[in-house]
Symmetry: none
Subunit: 208 residues, 4 copies
Amino acid sequence: MQSRTPAPRATGRPRSAAADAAILAATRQALVELGWSKFTMGDVATRAGVAKTTLYRRWAGKNDLVVDAVAELFDELRLPPDRGTLAADIEGVVLRFAALLERPEARTALMALIAESTTDEALRARIRSSIVDRQKRLVLEGRARAQQRGELPTEADPEAAARTADLIFDVIAGAVVHRALVSAEPVDPEWTRSFTTLLLNGLTTSTP
Amino acid sequence: MQSRTPAPRATGRPRSAAADAAILAATRQALVELGWSKFTMGDVATRAGVAKTTLYRRWAGKNDLVVDAVAELFDELRLPPDRGTLAADIEGVVLRFAALLERPEARTALMALIAESTTDEALRARIRSSIVDRQKRLVLEGRARAQQRGELPTEADPEAAARTADLIFDVIAGAVVHRALVSAEPVDPEWTRSFTTLLLNGLTTSTP
Amino acid sequence: MQSRTPAPRATGRPRSAAADAAILAATRQALVELGWSKFTMGDVATRAGVAKTTLYRRWAGKNDLVVDAVAELFDELRLPPDRGTLAADIEGVVLRFAALLERPEARTALMALIAESTTDEALRARIRSSIVDRQKRLVLEGRARAQQRGELPTEADPEAAARTADLIFDVIAGAVVHRALVSAEPVDPEWTRSFTTLLLNGLTTSTP
Amino acid sequence: MQSRTPAPRATGRPRSAAADAAILAATRQALVELGWSKFTMGDVATRAGVAKTTLYRRWAGKNDLVVDAVAELFDELRLPPDRGTLAADIEGVVLRFAALLERPEARTALMALIAESTTDEALRARIRSSIVDRQKRLVLEGRARAQQRGELPTEADPEAAARTADLIFDVIAGAVVHRALVSAEPVDPEWTRSFTTLLLNGLTTSTP
DNA sequence: TCTTAAACGAGACGGTACGTCTGGTCTTATC
DNA sequence: GATAAGACCAGACGTACCGTCTCGTTTAAGA
């Protein structure tokens, strides 16, 4: 986020830090109330009690602004305290992720940004670094715990280990997002348990 | 799709079927070239050689039009011919689905529509009936084949069977979409094989 | 008006005379309720219970249709019965003309058509032959009566007589129209008497 | 005209005076080239090198804009220098008024505005205050000169004097407009002399 | 009575303008 | 030099009419 204030200027009126916070809060509020397509920069400025120029001085446009606004939400995601088993850890993170996706500002912004990113490589990079990649640590931490417990073997090849972590991340995040946003069904404890069982045991053995 | 011609009128000049086809084709072309945010109704009309009013006479707006345009793409998805094993069938359908998601019009439209659908219940229903639910048959057909081969047991409870099918659909579709659009990494045969192994055997046994 | 049915066709279904009447009546009604700028062909068609094509089969456009519709009103203008003096005859015709201009359909249509005619020579000719020139007979008849009574001399030069008639027509019609539509003041008996006195006696002698 | 800048704002970027002038000039040019019915706001904006929003920020629509544009023309009308007789003064002002009505932008706009004003009371008031009433001073000045010369008596009753001035204004303006726009005949010196003679001497004595 | 050809209703069609809204920039005066 | 205010250009929005067209149906005159 500090990337957008490239150099600390020595002269003139300093930028208002309060304005930054107000703008990001107003952005999230506007996303909640309006959704993506009715979300406008002018509206955010009004809500934040700020001039439009102040927005554009800090962010290049809608997309950049919203990335920062929702990144703050995703930064709150944490791995739950160690519950003793890999299955419990997975269920915990799935439910926390699902809780995040139930916030309307996250739902609408996330999908819209990904849609925009299909034709905007810079935006894609920004989303990955600000939002997506930060969540991978959850997978890595979870695996480390499981390996300590002896539930998972320690992989020799670090490259293969990274590939597997990416795969698991895509499976977990993808399944939860698809369930919540595409199928539009609740990610409740029951579904979470079924999903975790499938993920751990596989299709051939998880069905009794 | 026939929902947009509510009643077969007996009187007046009939609607041009050629215009319908030209508009849907122009819609896909515009999505490819412009992406979602620069996609405009006027541009589609011009490409299709049609007046803007003709678009609005058939579709209420961008969203409805694009749903129909991309639904035509998804209707082309077919389960590959029986390859003898469940693993091969899964890999086949994953690769076909990934191929579809590599088409820029599908990528950009799908995510944007889902984003819009988070604040538009009618749109969500339209997407489900026109696009999503139709693909579930792939899961059902694949399971039937596997059950005939004896790879999967026949479930007694039909409700539980339906829930499982939904779960598998969310996992497969979600993982592929996430890999392709969020992680923006290729869904190549190697990844597909790893994913299929994980799905069939589970996390605890699939990592040697 | 018959100019719009160029040749009596020998075959096919004949045009409905009832439709003609209904359309002209609907035209006047629409002018009353909507004024010129909100007057639309489609609305007239609906009011007349007729298809738009039926309008365009008979008239080339708004202007032509309205010319015919208001011409019917102006055809009702008659010189009042001989009241014995030129002053009384003038007052009579001024009041009748003013009564016509109080009809909203006449007010709005007349000025609008004249405005259009400034950039449409054919329309100007059509207005003159259908509306304006027909009223000149009122001036000619009035003069003839006055000459018979001896109130006005008989002019020797017929060309000069015609020029004078045109001048008087412009003065009477122009003054009444300007009073009614531009100044938007009532053309009541009092004003009519003042105007007639001025017209007969002139500025230098009419103000006591 | 200043009525459209309701309050002198203290803050924000001030409105461009250059834009105002460019728009009014473009309006007159468009009226000349296109006439009233083909005159469009978008076209004026393009001619003036201005965005459509800039037009609508200042004027509510076509009518208001054109009133201001033609009012500037009418403001140029002046009583000619004193020519020594009332007849000469009248002829002078008639010819100047006629010259104005020969400008296509004045012809087409004036009649169209009057037509619109028949169903729009606010527009009528605007036309009167911006265009019509300002010309009455010509009548008042002319009468004052004539009274000084002794050609006309000084009226005792100021109300009657006002009524007479209004009447003369309607007769002069009405006759000239009718001659120029309805009869579509030239207001040349010959016609002007005949008209002035009629106005001064009346019908009964002006015809030899 | 049976053609037959134009008139008719309905409404879709390609266009064009409307007046509004948004995006992103700029120009003021103020802080 | 940052700020609030708001004017500015550019261009898309969805609507309304225009005048034309294409249907299927109706209707009178001539065969």
